[in-house]
Symmetry: C2
Subunit: 104 residues, 2 copies
DNA sequence: TCGACGGTATGACGTTCATCGAACAATCAT
DNA sequence: ATGATTGTTCGATGAACGTCATACCGTCGA
């Protein structure tokens, strides 16, 4: 079982988080992950983005390495999860500010 | 008197703001502008950043074009100002989240 | 009017980045 | 075992970016 480590939040830098968010594709991914619930990587996330598998994988890696997301492996299926609580503690208000609308 | 137009806030995109913030130099500039008070471009802002005049000018332009700042010309002196109120209305919570500390 | 000053525009250079196809790796079903 | 599925890694390519030195431009003071 392969492991995809995400950095400890103590080493996560604000500027790197912002840089990761400063791409249209990645911002959209994060906003779809807004509830913090793990989400399968493949289907509805990028059917409409019209990007190749490898490009999506690149963005998933960037998000994970920036500290924004965590990747969980289940067999041959991967799910991606926004590290919402940890981020809220380290950068209060940031995630809420970039998520779609108010949570209503 | 030359004019340096900043975009209307209605056309400002979140992803462009985040991209502008995703650079160490620009993030630092914005954080020093946090109070929204106009700040002269030259002196204390970048004496310690050890960057050339033209590089700073490039970052100032990027910030202005992204919608984050406004440039005001007084004679041969330029001041830069964070568009704090407009940004707070368009992207609630964002600026506060990336500014140093709580305002105390 | 003429220089000095504050800042911008231009062009160049090296690096990073987003993107893709193809190859690879790991797991599940048969 | 074998093949199909799910996703990552690698190598390449073109665009965007950060940086600098130089040239340029508008303004102020003598």
């Amino acid at each position: 079982m392969t492991d995809y480590p995400s950095p400890d939040m103590s080493g996560v830098e604000l500027v790197d988080v912002l840089r990761a968010l400063g791409d249209p594709v990645r911002l959209q991914i994060v906003r779809r992950l807004g509830d913090g619930v793990p989400c399968p990587k493949t289907p509805e996330i990028w059917e409409d983005l019209n990007l190749s598998k490898s490009t999506m994988s690149h963005h998933f890696r960037t998000l994970r390495e920036s500290g924004l997301t965590r990747t969980v492996v289940h067999g041959r299926t991967h799910t991606i999860q926004l590290r919402k609580d940890e981020l809220a503690e380290k950068f209060p208000g940031l995630i809420e500010a970039i998520l779609p609308d108010p949570p209503r």
